[in-house]
Symmetry: C2
Subunit: 337 residues, 2 copies
Amino acid sequence: MGVVIPLEEVTPERRVEALTSLVAADMERVNQAILGRAASHVTMIPDIANHLISSGGKRLRPMLTLASAGLCAYEGSGHIKLAAAVEFMHTATLLHDDVVDGSDMRRGKLAARMLWGNEASVLVGDFLLGQAFKMMVEVGSLACLDVLSSAAVVIAEGEVMQLSAAKDMQTSEDDYLAVIRAKTAALFGAACEVGVILGQRPKAEIAACRSYGMNLGISFQLIDDALDYGGTSAKLGKNVGDDFREGKVTLPVVLAFRRGSEKERAFWRRTLERGETGEGDLETAIASMHAHRALEDTVERARHYGAMARDALELFPASAWKTALIEVVDFCIERVH
Amino acid sequence: MGVVIPLEEVTPERRVEALTSLVAADMERVNQAILGRAASHVTMIPDIANHLISSGGKRLRPMLTLASAGLCAYEGSGHIKLAAAVEFMHTATLLHDDVVDGSDMRRGKLAARMLWGNEASVLVGDFLLGQAFKMMVEVGSLACLDVLSSAAVVIAEGEVMQLSAAKDMQTSEDDYLAVIRAKTAALFGAACEVGVILGQRPKAEIAACRSYGMNLGISFQLIDDALDYGGTSAKLGKNVGDDFREGKVTLPVVLAFRRGSEKERAFWRRTLERGETGEGDLETAIASMHAHRALEDTVERARHYGAMARDALELFPASAWKTALIEVVDFCIERVH
């Protein structure tokens, strides 16, 4: 059982290869910065940070910073620290999210909080956020600092919004979009924007890259939320059904609920709102989603935002960077198991 | 039962009055900034932030930023936002601390986590930290951003250090000092330093004000830790014995343990390390501290750092600001019930 997404000849892994190879040399420097800044004489800090950092995240966000700097032919080295800062902001969010969600797993490994406790996860998240700001300050661009500190506020706001919307079947598609714009897309947008700011490009190009990142982020999160009801945990490192168990009202749920019968709505209220779940409920949830094309339409929405991301880049002349960034959109959407 | 600190004719409340009245007009603007920046359409954010903000903290840290700007005759308005940012950094730390410590009470009110949950406390802390950075960026001084982002890293490091040292009777006085330098004194130091940086004063004056703040912060925390074994909860808003129940190895404990008999050490190991506490144990702990002058000597240490704080200001010519800052040292030490 899973979301049926047509497989094209080019696999998702190959699609992101162009970007990966373009940023390879810079990414090596970013990884050095990440490791160096996760260091501390308080050994619990590198232990936890490296547990998460080494667990094979895609590093998509820092790659976007490097690529947007590349797109603008930026020749300095500020993009390295900004990319590392973006990844630290993301890592800090993951550490805090796992505490907030009570998650056991992250990227196929035990969540840090399961190994070191919630307390340490909260504090090491704070440490990484502090280091992220320190790196931004070192780069010295107030405009970039503005973009990234604003993103930090919006992300936290989005997380609180998500917490308020949890277990609430009144959540509308608009509410849901507001949450993912804030908690996911804002950092994608900021990651892209700062690369162009460093390149000292005109406002229209900065706005275009931000739009690319924002729309890519929305698309990325929509697919994540669809995968949570259809992926295979072995490859994703994320157990299918996490959102269901945590009572998260994501778009597939919103659509299935709106389109469902009274009986189905009662099911969603019992399982997501009241948290009364038992054997077979996840399967019922997925079946209901398929019956109402909730997953397919979530993927359709993702394609819509993906198209906007692609169009945003039209402003830029053809280049290997542009091609690679456009391929990332396809990668995000076609991530299948 | 309580720490016997000689009461002088001038009460602690009166001692801080000079500072309070000097900064009154600026503080009004800081409070406006604080309220404005705690606002959000996500209502849980201002609810939680205002719960803590309105609970009558002394706002000592932002007052220090205002006063150090005053000491340097700074005439701009950057100190307002930096003071608000310092208070937000502190508030974020309190929200996260209460989650980490599992505290029920804060400033005599139920801790935010008891009313809105740990999840929301973590996320609203992140929001406030983000807003703090946003305000700093708006002020636009990279030097101030450097000082405050470095402090954020050091504070988080200190909190993790404290977590590692918790329930560990091997903790030495040096270990303890390293923790409070990081978790408390770093922000006091930074709060003072940024005011002088804004005033564009020479390096020696910046270092002097930082030293004043750091030593004041150490002194402040030492007294807090002594009060935790001798204050009265009604006025302090902090239950006596919190540190004891949370297994925190503070200086009064370190001294009582070092100076105690084998039987007393066994007592500390049972209660603090293994967390096996029962009726009468807190009283026994306090009696043991008195028997070994652990509380008195903790206050003595506080006086020592207080003297260093005072001396650091010698560099500055006499002024109402200088007098007020020196009085703050006495206030911190003589805070008795």
